[in-house]
């Protein structure tokens, strides 16, 4: 139900509005639903709002799990 794209924060103003970048496309985003979002962070954007921050550590773990599965088969 909810299309969300992982994108990188470019800038945020004091009103918690700013832009994210995804593959070179920049889109206006509202960051009010996050705590401590800052430029350079990766977030999930849904309908113009950042709804979650991406956890790099967890992403790496999932990827290494996938690599293992790929190796076994």
């Amino acid at each position: 139900m909810c299309l969300g794209i992982p994108a990188k924060i470019i800038d945020i103003d004091e009103d918690q509005h700013g832009r994210v970048d995804y593959l070179g496309t920049k889109v206006k985003t509202n960051f009010s639903l996050l705590e401590n979002a800052k430029p350079g962070d990766w977030v999930i954007v849904h309908a113009g709002f950042a709804i979650a921050q991406l956890d790099e550590e967890e992403a790496r773990e999932t990827l290494s799990l996938l690599r293992e599965i790929a190796k076994e088969s």
């Binding site: 139900m1 909810c2 299309l3 969300g4 794209i5 992982p6 889109v27 206006k28 509202n30 009010s32 639903l33 996050l34 705590e35 990766w42 999930i44 849904h46 309908a47 113009g48 709002f49 709804i51 979650a52 991406l54 956890d55 790099e56 967890e58 992403a59 773990e61 999932t62 990827l63 799990l65 996938l66 690599r67 599965i69 790929a70 190796k71 076994e72 088969s73």
Partner: protein, 367 residues
């Protein structure tokens, strides 16, 4: 870093399918897994996973997580009426909402009077820009969504309230995900072995709202992301839980979903909205399954502002058996309306409305 591309790699998908096949080999019974979320349905369709999974003995059912489809006809018609009958009104909405066919046509085929129009938005906040730019016009945002979308719409309303933008209001249809899961599971004839929980709803509500599925209904489930590898990881987890007979709420989308969800978003919803019983197209009335604006924000509630008196009830869809299709109890062709009264151009239930709904797919590909 977690670029989406990583989670689409062929070798990962191939490896995951092999693992799923290994677990399922030699099993006589097919496994029925419900993907709750419409975006999961889209990914499964887009990458052609349905057939690949069927070859391993896994049957995917599309659940109630498509807000476009489960929003009753009466609400869609109310939106169409607003923009076709009123002057100086701009109806804004998400692109998804515009194709739903009703007796009055769809938003896309609606013809507004000269001073009114329809505008598709990506963010609800675009409606506020219109409200500021056109103070002499009424801006109504037709806002439909689950827990993922609701906080953003709520914030937009709060902003309008702060700026005193009295020409802005929201025609809302806000839905909650856990109650319909409960309703589906409470039906004794339901045949679902596991759930793929929606990743982005979970990013807001966290893991605990699904615990009852594992604990009270001994049914497996995994929170999954939206890349094909995410979905197969979730299915693999469900297969393992079924195999070990240890159902739980697994989270294979931990890079996005925190156990407690997004507390800020939860607080906003609690502050601005109250829970109500709601009528779901195809599933009927479900207790405490919807949200509405608290009276403090009534001025921004289009239903109240324009006294719309939207009445959705089971009488809308006599004979429709989408609920049973959703629960995996009957195939689409066993519904008395299928292919007769209910067709892609005159859909009655959500399974025919949705792009990839079970009935639409059955109508298009298997006739």
């Amino acid at each position: 870093m977690s670029k989406t591309g990583h989670f689409r790699q062929k070798k990962f998908l191939y490896g995951l399918l092999q693992d799923i096949k290994k677990i399922r080999s030699g099993k006589k019974q097919n496994l029925k897994i419900m993907e709750v979320c419409g975006t999961h349905t889209m990914t499964i369709h887009r990458y052609g996973l349905k057939k690949l999974l069927e070859d391993t003995g896994i049957h995917m059912l599309s659940g109630p997580g498509c807000p476009v489809c489960i929003t009753p006809n009466a609400v869609h018609e109310a939106a169409i009426n607003l923009v076709t009958e009123r002057k100086n009104l701009i109806l804004t909405t998400f692109g998804d909402m515009t194709r739903v066919p009703t007796q009055k046509g769809s938003i896309q085929t609606a013809v507004a009077p000269q001073t009114s129009c329809i505008k598709i938005v990506y963010s609800p906040e675009e409606s506020l820009e219109l409200a500021r730019a056109f103070p002499q016009k009424d801006i109504v945002f037709f806002g439909v969504g689950f827990e993922t979308t609701i906080p953003g719409i709520a914030l937009t309303i709060r902003k309008a309230s702060e700026e005193d933008l009295t020409n802005f209001s929201v025609l809302s249809a806000f839905w909650l995900i856990p109650p319909p899961l409960k309703a589906i599971l409470n039906d004794k004839d339901t045949k679902i072995d596991g759930f793929l929980y929606p990743g982005h709803v979970s990013a807001i509500i966290g893991e605990s709202p699904y615990l009852f599925v594992a604990e009270e209904h001994q049914t497996a489930g995994a929170i999954a992301g939206f890349e094909p590898a995410d979905i197969l990881l979730g299915i693999l987890s469900v297969c393992r839980q079924v195999e070990s007979r240890r159902p739980k709420v697994d989270n294979v989308y931990s890079r996005v979903v925190k156990p407690g969800g997004n507390r800020t978003a939860q607080a906003i919803m609690k502050d601005m909205l109250t829970v109500k019983d709601a009528y779901w197209r195809g599933l009927g009335s479900i207790r405490k399954s919807g949200l509405e604006l608290k009276s403090k924000y009534s001025a921004f509630d289009a239903e109240k502002k324009y006294t719309l008196n939207i009445q959705a009830s089971a009488d809308d869809l006599p004979g429709c058996r989408c609920g049973d299709v959703l629960r995996g109890k009957i195939p689409p062709r066993n519904c008395p309306l299928f292919g007769r009264k209910c067709r892609p151009d005159s859909p009655q239930g959500p399974c025919m409305v949705s792009f990839e709904g079970a009935c639409l797919a059955a109508y298009k590909y298997n006739r």
